[in-house]
Amino acid sequence: MKISDYEPIVGRSTIEELKLLATRLSGKVVQNINSTFIGGGVAEILSRMVPLLGELGVDARWNVIKGDEEFFQVTKKFHNALHGRREKVSAQDFSLFLETSQRNIDEMNLYGDIIFVHDPQPVALVKRKKELGRKWIWRCHIDISKPNEEVWDFLQPFVVEYDAAIFSTPAFSRELPIRQFFVPPSIDPLSDKNRGLSPETIDSVLAKYGIPRDKPIITQVSRFDYLKDPVGVIKAFQLVRRSIDSRLVLAGGTASDDPESDKVLAGVRESATGNPDIHILSGPQVSDIEINALQRASTVVVQKSLREGFALTVSEALWKAKPVVASAVGGIPLQVKNKYTGLLVHGIEGTAYALRQLLTNPDYARWLGENGKEHVRHNFLITRHLRDYLLLFLSLGYPGDVIYL
């Protein structure tokens, strides 16, 4: 993708401003460091952002730390523990993390003027800050508001060495003695998940999964995790069905590292038994384009989570101008302003009520959907994400709240 490809979407002035900021970073090297080039949300974001930064004229590079299977098993435990999940982390795990980190500290070439470290795996590299100087930023993509304290106490001494930390929502952060910034994640409007599709493509996907378009379609896209409450969605749908004939599509993968995932899927299948209007699409065979098509074919998109991260699936649905009914948890209230860009709900009955409202008032639903799309255009596309990073790189070193460049 080229930066100019985004101009018809976000407007010329937005691209001009990105270029204006980028010229101010001329001569600086931004070194991104994470744990993998492939797989996972961070790698996906970096694989898009690094080339775009380069095209804007910023010398952005990307390196990964080295680690064996055991190291990444430990960091996976850290990840879950920071999220607040119960996780048994042993003294051996901590020492393994320190050993591998030390090897990376000794071997890694840290050449950037701005060293941009993503997530906890490479966090310890900051030990070289005293020797090298430079500006160090830690980008935390996970919710650390209620972490496993043992793991947090272990990682915090590294985090506080950074010049700044970035979180996806204010609620994900914690009190720290360093500057903290709030930079929401973003979606790429030109990716397979979000780009425009022809009616033929959408029809072929529906035909492939045997979903007729004879009734309004309600869709929830998310992995089969009890925190996404797919069974709650089915219950809400059954309430809606009492007065409005419609279909429900639940689409998403199962998490291979989550033993409960299969159990949740089994529960969902059981709840849906005997109802031919409930379509369950699970597994990795559902491609990004197919998810895109399912969202575009939907009359209403639901995200009835019990707990959420930022919930980019909501941004994806809003970008397709779909009316959204979503729980007021995690990053969802940042995206759905109740009654302006969608409807916020708190329970099964509320979800059913909101769905009925939208299915019986298509004009209102359309208005919400269009507002939602504009909201995403201005606040949750990759161009805004790029702008925030450029601003952050530029503002490091200026202590005031108003910076003249």
Binding site: S13, L20, H375, D401
Partner: protein, 453 residues
């Protein structure tokens, strides 16, 4: 000798008669031409008469001599070279006349259209070469010399010239069209359908130079200009004493670490946080939802309504008119006093549900100049059309309240540098909080366009 006198007398008589007749005709023709020139008052007519006056004497002599030769008894072997001589004289005089005419006309029209000297010289050289080459070819034809190789050579040379000037030639023609048509002139403000716009600083035989709004010079091929749809706004209106440099402002959201779960905590925290926090929470909804709704609520009002479920207090906080306040401190005091009054009544002491706490965020503004500069109202309004919303926001909202200027930047410049007090006052009186940002842009453009007209 006496027997041959008619052989001499008749041609001589014919010569003299023809000479008198042609001089008489010449006189009538020039008399008519003079009267016509007086009637139409065109300098071009005078050029025609002056350039042909001397050669026409020669032409009268040639015609008379030709008639005399036709009736003379001179043998054909003598007659033929004399014929050729007369034709040669005629062609040379015609070429001389053509050269004089071309030189005078090119110089006349060059001055009239203020054409650059290079273009005049080029046109003159091309015309001169064409006339001389045509004359030489005719003379060669008269004297029976072979012309085919020369024609071939000329053809090749012409082809080379056409290839070399294939881009320049249509531009030259377009330059003539532009000058003759007079639709655009140096100093006009123009806008092309392709997006280029600015004041025309020069029109040369190949390009038209436009000084665009970001102070760069845009070269547009004349050919493209005549084919394009052009809006011409004409000459500049009054120049400003100082140009207006447009700035833009983008902001980062910095987390303060402060949070509130009830109204008491909100009021207490609000008292101690920096102005940048007050600014963020009273303006961020406007920035994020500028496309959606005028009169956006502040974050405090939204949180009290949504998270504490107190619509009454929410309404009181939302109804604060931000435009009334010229400092953030005064705005903060108003917010806190409403919360304190409410708390004093013991009205709202409930906590927000877990996960719905209020997080105090600080706005960090990064301000930097854009390439756009306006020297007059036309440049100002055209920049306004294409300006980013961040830039518009900065000059209207941020400079007035956050930077504490008390007045938006546009009004200040209009009054100080353009002495447009009435327009400045009108813009200052607009309550920007009652518009969406695009709506505000449209209103400003309308006000300025009205003033220009």
């Amino acid at each position: 000798m006496s027997e041959n006198w008619p052989d001499i007398a008749i041609p001589l008589a014919v010569f003299l008669f023809a000479l008198i007749a042609t001089f008489w005709l010449r006189r009538i023709a020039y008399g008519y031409l003079a009267r016509w020139a007086q009637r139409v008052k065109g300098q071009g007519r005078e050029i025609l008469s002056e350039a042909t006056k001397t050669p026409s004497v020669l032409w009268a002599l040639i015609i008379s001599a030709s008639l005399a030769l036709a009736v003379s008894a001179v043998s054909p072997e003598w007659k033929d070279p004399v014929w050729k001589g007369l034709w040669t004289l005629f062609v040379l005089s015609l070429a001389w006349c053509g050269l004089t005419l071309a030189r005078r006309f090119i110089s006349f029209y060059g001055e009239r259209f203020k054409a650059p000297r290079r273009a005049t010289v080029l046109t003159w050289n091309v015309t001169r070469i064409v006339i001389i080459v045509v004359a030489i070819l005719i003379l060669l034809e008269i004297w029976g010399a072979p012309t085919s190789p020369i024609l071939l050579l000329i053809g090749v040379a012409a082809l080379v010239a056409v290839l070399a000037f294939r881009d320049a030639f249509p531009n030259l023609i377009a330059w003539f069209q532009l000058n003759a048509g007079g639709q655009v002139k140096v100093g006009d403000y123009i806008k092309l359908e392709t997006g280029e716009e600015g004041y025309i600083s020069e029109i040369n035989w190949r390009h038209t130079l436009i000084k665009s709004l970001d102070e760069s010079t845009v070269l547009i091929a004349n050919r493209k200009l005549v084919q394009s749809t052009v809006i011409n706004y004409g000459r500049p209106v009054k120049k400003a004493k100082e140009p207006f440099r447009f700035y833009t402002r983008m902001h980062l959201k910095e987390l303060t670490g402060h949070r509130a779960k009830n109204l008491r905590e909100m009021a207490d925290t609000l008292k101690m946080v920096p102005d940048s926090v007050v600014y963020y929470h009273t303006h961020h909804f406007l920035e994020e939802h500028h496309y959606l709704t005028p009169e956006p609520a502040n974050d405090f009002a939204l949180w009290v309504s949504d998270a504490l479920g107190d619509e009454v207090l929410g309404e009181r906080l939302a109804s604060i008119d931000t435009f009334e306040f010229s400092t953030l401190e005064a705005l903060r005091e108003r917010l806190v006093s409403i919360m304190e009054e409410y708390l004093a009544l013991g009205s709202n002491l409930r906590d927000a549900a877990e996960g719905r706490e209020f997080h105090f965020v600080k706005s960090v503004s990064v301000i930097l100049p854009t390439p756009y500069v306006a020297h007059d109202l036309r440049e100002f309004v055209e920049t306004l059309r294409k300006l980013s919303l961040n830039s518009l926001y900065f000059h209207i909202f941020e400079s007035r309240l956050r930077l504490g200027k008390g007045l938006n930047d546009f009004s200040a410049w209009l009054e100080d540098s353009l002495v447009e007090k009435e327009l400045a006052d009108r813009i200052a009186r607009l309550d920007p909080y009652t518009y969406t940002l695009e709506g505000l842009r449209s209103s400003l453009i309308q006000l300025i366009e009205k003033r220009i007209k």
